[in-house]
Amino acid sequence: MTEREVFLNHLAEASGRPRHQLVDHPFIPINSLPQTTLSDLSADELLNLAQTRSEALQVEFHLTSQKKLPQVLNVWLKAQQAQNILLPTDPRLSEYGLDQWLAHLTPTPRFWQPNAGRATNLDAASHADAAISVGDYLLAESGTLTVATTRGQGRAFHFLPTHYLSIIPRSHVVPRSYQAMKAYRHALQNGTLQTSNINFISGPSNSGDIEMVLIVGVHGPLTVSYVVIDDA
């Protein structure tokens, strides 16, 4: 018998309950609060809530049109006095109409490169003072941005840079984690998403470990901004 079988049999014995009963007793939640909470909000109410809740986390929140997106990004980069810019290799940058902007961006950004090695990409991320990512969803309830790791936008992309901004389409502002989770589970199950990592990010990193005084910016970015593109 394998070490796993010995371990699991011991648990079954200790509990007095036989193994392999789950198939007939799947988990069925006793209420539907995860999906019904905030589900009655209109699109405008949802956006307002997302903004209020994000700002409560000290997130800089922008709503803009696709046309004005380059301008918003330029203002942000200038405010960060960005010298080392990090961008993802992701088709969504083109979808958001940023090709022209990219071609003229100074200083020349570095990209998270799918074909470069770990060391090159970690070096780019750790030297970046400003990173612009493409986000998947924004959860209105908690001001949370979600991103799944891809070849062109790795895990450390969201944590090593000093200042961080993420672009999210307005149609992807959802009430809460339930809706984002539903979409991720669906995409993972049907294979349209292949990832080893999904991040839920709610504002800048922080800690209360020294006398419970709130310190913003510990290991992750010191500041976080969300830019919602009004694609409605």
Partner: protein, 488 residues
């Protein structure tokens, strides 16, 4: 540091905790601040009682089918290319992880906060190996490590017992020259730890919830250090208590929000991550991924009267409402799991010989049970521990039972209750002490007990107990006269 953190007797630990006035003030301040934050974040979610029911249901369901969920989870981790090790004891777990460091020739280890790794004393075990560096990357754990692995005092705020001056002194040992300003000290830690992250070849994390449906690990933090531990080193070891399963990512999301609201009064922690071994075409994340699933005494609770303790999601809310914890802090308990949850869990994991005092470190006020997001009836489990101990140690609890029964009858039967009020003053005369009235004994000038009998003895060991007032002066008489006077 294993589960037991002190060789001193319970009473010695209590005396030391009592003398630590900074700790008491810090705990009181933290409890009060957390009370407001926790309450408002739960109100803001709405339907908190129903959320608790859901949280309880998720946890109870998983515990009920635990072997099946562990099987499903481990199959899915392996399908993703990870390895799973089932450890029955702390020694098995820490030796296995030590061997990974040897086999993979890993020399620079970074960790994120994990109670379970503290439980198996992992840091010391890894540092036994030659030429290894190991750094705790959570700010609080880093402070404790640099203070010669001082013991944590709280499961969510491990450095609650340290003030900013002490932390400044600790940091000065590693080259800090700045002030005692928390922000400045945190920036120093960020810089210091960033260098270690970038050279790390092995990362160790705990696990808030393990997702059975897809083999991913769910971790929540506010600092972002766990995400760097999961992104940069090529090897990641996850250490988890065997009960930390959830069926799907949906249930993990439910528990994450309940955990964040209960632990720190936030809607979500800054980071909540679902992660596994890196996929072949991803750039960062662990290429070598190990999950160590630990029993270490947890199975003692399965199928028995303490099974509900396995529902715990380690939010620390029960510590934050506990009047006993408020006075004795974490160190008073002598376990890495302090507070009400520690008083229930520690004896389950390691038995009454080591932790038999803890179930008595409670006023049984029930505040812990009331706040617990997954509805663990903590104070009832403490009473059960006491009863089991009485039975095991062959102590006769018939006296306690008789006294409680008598009190129940007397207070529940109006004529008997009135009779008791008539005579309690007179009957207590022989046992009380009288002093001349002063400001200090203003409310005791009727006399007071210094050595009360039976169950009240514990109270009079450390406090005075006022003598019951004369019949005509007691509250009921006063209220009756007051009512009569106002009708006139």
């Amino acid at each position: 540091m294993p589960i037991k953190t002190s060789d001193q007797s319970f009473t010695t630990r209590l005396k030391e905790s009592e003398a630590d006035k900074f700790m008491q003030r810090a705990v009181a301040k933290a409890q009060d601040a957390q009370w407001d934050k926790r309450t408002s974040s739960r109100e803001d979610l709405g339907n908190w009682p129903q959320w608790r029911e859901l949280g309880e249901q998720i946890r109870q369901h998983v515990i009920r089918y635990l072997p099946d969920y562990l099987e499903r989870f481990s199959n899915n981790v392996e399908a993703r290319g990870g390895h799973v090790f089932f450890a029955s004891t702390d020694e098995e777990a820490s030796s296995y992880i030590q061997q990974i460091a040897v086999d993979l020739d890993a020399h620079h280890i970074v960790k994120s906060k994990s109670m379970v790794t503290t439980e198996i004393d992992l840091d010391k075990k890894l540092l036994e190996l030659p030429d290894r560096t190991l750094l705790e990357s959570d700010l609080a754990e880093f402070i404790l490590q640099e203070d010669d692995f001082d013991e944590p005092t709280h499961i969510v705020f491990p450095t609650l017992h340290k003030n900013r001056d002490q932390i400044q002194t600790i940091f000065q040992k590693i080259g800090y020259t700045g002030s005692n300003d928390p922000q400045e000290m945190a920036r120093f830690a960020r810089k210091y730890l960033r260098a270690s992250f970038l050279e790390a070849d092995m990362g160790i994390t705990g696990c808030n919830f393990a997702v059975a449906e897809n083999g991913l690990i769910n971790l929540v933090t506010n600092e972002g250090n766990a995400d760097l531990v999961m992104a940069i080193p090529k090897t990641q070891v996850v250490v988890m208590g065997m009960e930390r399963l959830v069926p799907t990512m949906q249930e993990a999301a439910v528990l994450d929000t309940m955990l964040a609201r209960s632990a720190v009064g936030q809607r979500m922690t800054s980071y909540a991550t679902f992660c596994g071994p890196a996929m072949p075409d991803e750039i960062d994340g662990p290429e070598n991924f190990y999950v160590v699933i630990l029993d270490n005494g947890r199975s003692n609770a399965l199928g028995g009267q303490f099974e509900q303790v396995l529902q715990c999601i380690r939010c620390g809310a029960c510590l934050n409402v506990c009047p006993v914890y408020r006075h004795i802090g974490g160190h008073g308990y002598g376990s890495i799991y302090p507070g009400p949850i520690g008083a229930v869990l520690s004896p389950v994991l390691r038995g009454y010989e080591l932790f038999g005092d803890l179930p008595f470190a409670s006023s049984l006020c029930g505040a812990c049970s009331e706040t617990c997001p997954v509805k663990i009836p903590l104070h009832e489990l403490l009473i059960k521990h006491r009863a089991v101990m009485n039975d095991r140690l062959k102590l006769d609890h018939s006296f306690n039972n008789t006294v409680m029964h008598g009190i129940g009858m007397a207070t529940g039967t109006p004529p008997m209750f009135r009779m008791a009020l008539d005579v309690d003053h007179a009957m207590s005369g022989a046992m009380v002490k009288h002093d001349a009235p002063t400001v200090e004994n203003f409310s005791n000038h009727n006399g007071y007990f210094i050595h009360a009998p039976g169950m009240a003895k514990g109270w009079t060991d450390s406090r005075d107990l006022p003598r019951p007032p004369k019949h005509k002066e007691n509250f009921r008489s006063w209220f009756k006269h007051h009512q009569e006077a106002s009708h006139d």
